[in-house]
């Protein structure tokens, strides 16, 4: 019913447009039209349309269109690549990179394109560089486009949630890998419309290059008009040709946007050969419900048993923190933490918010830099080197994190939003550790099944509940065969009824012998799973010991006060 009336409206609008155009054309009072349309009336209109059609398929003009396309395609590709580099430079930590990129954008964006083209063509020969028209046009447009695309690409990159980069860093992904596989694909949704705009503008904007002897469509039209003075006829024909070209761009844009659309259900295997889309085989849906598989414990045992550092003597503690200090500006978050975690031990850290618990975790896997003190994992620094008595962060931080194999589970899951559950799990094994994709996929499926999500492997994170997402997060951390697992308030963001499924997974992991540090508010869980409880308040360890000691009969007043508040909730 609604569709039929919509169709009527469209029809009426189209009829209106045709009527208006006809009135314009047939109005004998317009000398310009009369010039082009011999005799008025319908016959005149038909004749005029015939003339337009003649020019619209004229090979001379079509060759001009082809030239415009060639220049636009080459210049856009070059411009986008350079623009991406400039955008990354503008977001770099090094001042010189930021400065150079900003200067380039400021200068090239701020001067007229016409001036830039004429400079390249007519001024460079003075220093011995003589380029032909086509090369000059491609170069000029590409360099100009780079300045503009640098900005909208930068905007797109900034629009990607920070949590995505944090998760990628925790998995040991380098900045380039993170950009290529995580940030850029998600930024594409914001960037694609701007790219299509640039493409359309460039196809039409090549006309400016007539001043450097590029004979593209508009200039060719002007040359014909200089001979026959039929401006409207010829330029309408050129306009039609441009419309066809830009429609092609618009369709490509639609296709690409559908491809990058995260909201769309992916039912068929992806056939695109873009670097972010490998073809995946569709696995037959499991009949298993969401229940946890009974043999899961065996899998976790297997993971914990993978001792990647067989060289380390077994009595070396897994984690040793000595005198760890961290401040944010003037605010001291951690004031000298000394903590040792033995292999296979489960340490639960509790404390009021703002006490520095999460900061400590992030310092352990070097997501943040230490201000003072040392942290050693299995006897080695993670991404630090000793230089004259002080610790200095290494240049290849991502590699160091990857070698350290520390799995992290986040309060807000931080799953990669553009990848399915399975793809999230196998991302690091394939791209950081170079595992064979087929083997990684098989291993990933086993991990997902062990957390009870085998039948949800091909869903995107936004289609999963919070508890399911967190379990995928656990599987993803486990996929790198970690020697240590860090949990940063894993259930704080979950609805109460979903908390248990996650705690269950963590419990089984603990039972299988994984070394774990868990920051949590769940006191009952702490008592159940922890080998040792550590109470941190105001940046210091106030008290630590067995659960029965710390939770049952704490020594310190502050511990007692905290526990009474928490257990009331």
């Amino acid at each position: 019913m609604g569709g039929a009336s919509k169709g009527h409206n469209v029809g009426r609008a189209a009829l209106g447009c045709v009527a208006a155009t006809a009135t314009l054309v047939l109005d004998a009072g317009q000398p310009a039209w009369a010039e082009d349309v011999p005799g008025g009336g319908l016959a005149g209109l038909a004749h005029w349309l015939g003339e337009v059609g003649h020019y619209a398929v004229l090979p001379f003009l079509l060759r001009g269109a082809l030239l415009a396309i060639e220049i636009a395609v080459l210049a856009l590709s070059g411009g986008l690549v350079l623009g991406l580099c400039l955008a990354v430079m503008r977001l770099s930590q090094w001042k010189i990179a930021r400065g150079c990129a900003w200067t380039y954008v400021w200068f090239v964006r701020g001067t007229p394109l016409l001036l830039q083209l004429v400079f390249l063509y007519d001024a460079l020969p003075a220093v011995g560089i003589r380029l032909d028209s086509f090369t000059t046009a491609v170069m000029g447009f590409a360099l100009n486009e780079a300045a503009f695309s640098a900005e909208f690409i930068r905007g797109g990159l900034l629009s990607v949630n920070r949590s995505q980069k944090i998760a990628a860093a925790a998995l040991g992904m380098s900045s380039f890998l993170t950009l290529r596989r995580i940030v850029l694909p998600q930024a594409m949704r914001a960037i694609l419309p701007a790219i299509a705009n640039s493409a359309v503008n460039m196809i039409k904007g090549t006309s400016i290059a007539s001043v450097i002897f590029v004979n593209e469509l508009t200039f060719r039209s002007e040359q014909i008009v200089a001979q026959n003075f039929q401006f409207f006829t010829v330029l309408t024909a050129a306009g039609l040709i441009y419309l066809v070209l830009t429609t092609v761009v618009a369709s490509v844009q639609s296709a690409l946007e559908r491809h990058f659309d995260q909201d769309r259900e992916r039912t068929a295997p992806r056939r695109f050969l873009l670097p972010w889309r490998r073809g995946s085989t569709v696995e037959p849906p499991c009949n298993a419900s969401d229940a946890l598989a009974p043999s899961a414990g065996g899998l976790f045992e297997g993971i914990a048993a993978v001792d990647v550092t067989q060289r380390v003597p077994s009595d070396t503690p897994c984690v040793v923190c000595s005198g760890v200090c961290k401040s944010y500006g003037s605010h001291e978050v951690l004031r000298g933490i000394d903590l040792a975690v033995a292999r296979g031990e489960v340490v639960v850290i509790i404390g009021p918010s703002g006490s520095g618990k999460s900061t400590l975790l992030r310092l352990i896997n070097h997501l943040e830099h230490l201000d003072a003190g040392e942290i050693k994992i299995d006897g080695a620094f993670v991404g630090y080197e000793k230089a004259g008595g002080t610790l200095r962060p290494r240049r290849d931080l991502a590699r160091a994190r990857a070698e350290a194999r520390i799995g992290m589970v986040f309060q807000h899951f931080n799953l990669f939003e553009h990848l399915t559950a399975l793809e999230n799990v196998i991302e690091a094994p394939i791209y950081v550790y170079g595992e064979d994709p087929a083997r990684a996929r098989a291993g990933g499926m086993r991990l997902l099944e062990s957390v009870g999500l085998g039948h949800r492997a091909h869903l995107l994170p936004h289609r999963l509940s919070g508890g399911q997402q967190q379990r995928v997060g656990i599987a993803r951390a486990l996929a790198i065969a970690p020697r240590l697992m860090l949990f940063d308030e894993p259930t704080s963001a979950l609805d109460p009824e979903l908390v248990n499924e996650v705690l269950g997974a963590i419990r089984r992991l603990a039972l299988s012998g994984m070394t774990m540090i868990i920051v949590t508010h769940e006191i009952r869980f702490a008592r159940d799973v922890g080998d040792r409880i550590v109470f941190i308040d105001g940046g210091e360890i106030v008290e630590q010991g067995t659960p029965s000691k710390v939770l049952g009969s704490p020594d310190h007043e502050r511990t007692r006060r905290f526990l009474s508040i928490v257990e009331q909730a």
Binding site: P31, E35, R63, D122, F213, V214, F219, E222, Q223
Partner: protein, 284 residues
């Protein structure tokens, strides 16, 4: 040898119509394209690039049936001259405002598109003069505003092409109008002749100042109200210091003018052969 004396002799021969007089001189009147390597070694083995706008009927424009063919008085003149020299050519078609900078930068070898000589332009390029032209005040057919001369333009609206000598004339005239307490001329600058003539057609301007060649203007729509600047010299633009090319051109054009080729060109394009000017190099 004094080139001017040689050319005067050629002109004399032309009027006599008797190629037999003075066989020594008659030998100079023939083109020798095959001898380019010996006569102009710097030009041999190169394709000469000729900068034109292809938007300036009747001098350089695109053929009406097949626009991939270039046509026009200057196009054919250039083809004939370089055929005489013996160098292959290639036309570089570009927007008018870019033609001169391209010549100066060396991106083209000559500019051949009804280029008027002005002392200002001669500061950046050299000329080989070959023709003359004049400017005109063009109005709608019927001359509705009754414009007979420059003074009639005071208080009216006029248009001319960007960078043309006619723009300067308009500005001078407007100043003269205001000096005599008459209203100034509202001057528009057009990108090219078709857009300027559209201004006339749709009544936005009362007069167009441009080339004073009658065939340029459709007699059904326009008429020439007044001729001025008679004696404007037209030349081939050559980069300063390119004396070998200048020599080759002045010799070749001289030969063509002597043997009647250029007269035929003028007649073919319905231009007055009296406009022809003896070939001459001008450097300032």
């Amino acid at each position: 040898m004094n080139l001017r004396i040689l050319l005067a002799a050629n002109a004399a021969l032309w009027w006599c119509g008797d190629a037999g007089i003075g066989t020594a001189l008659a030998d100079e009147v023939k083109c020798e394209p095959q001898a380019i390597a010996s006569k102009y070694p710097g030009l041999a083995g190169r394709t000469m690039k000729i900068g034109i706008s292809a938007a300036d009927k009747p001098n350089t424009f695109r053929d009406e049936r097949d626009p991939s063919i270039l046509a026009g008085f200057d196009v054919e003149y250039a083809r004939a001259a370089f055929a005489c020299i013996g160098a292959p050519i290639e036309f570089s078609v570009g927007g008018w405002s870019g033609l001169l900078p391209a010549l100066v930068a060396g991106q083209s070898d000559v500019m051949w598109d009804a280029l008027y000589y002005t002392a200002e332009r001669a500061k950046s390029i050299d000329y080989v003069l070959y023709s003359s032209s004049r400017s005109a005040i063009v109005v709608d057919k019927g001359n509705p505003k009754n414009i007979k001369g420059f003074d009639d333009l005071c208080g009216l609206r006029a248009v001319a092409q960007v960078g043309s000598v006619e723009v300067a004339a308009l500005q001078r005239q407007s100043q003269s109008c205001t000096d005599r307490h008459k209203p100034e001329i509202a001057i528009s600058i057009a990108q090219d002749r078709p857009s300027a003539l559209r201004e006339l057609q749709n009544g936005r301007d009362d007069a167009y100042l441009g080339i004073g060649v009658g065939v340029t203007y459709d007699p059904a729509l326009f008429e020439i109200a007044h001729i001025f600047n008679a004696g404007l010299k037209v030349g081939v633009g050559v980069r300063k210091g390119n004396s070998e090319l200048e020599r080759a051109l002045v010799t070749a054009i001289g030969i063509l003018q002597a043997n009647g080729t250029t007269r035929k060109l003028y007649e073919r394009w319905r231009l007055n052969p009296e406009l022809s000017v003896p070939a001459e190099i001008v450097t300032q």
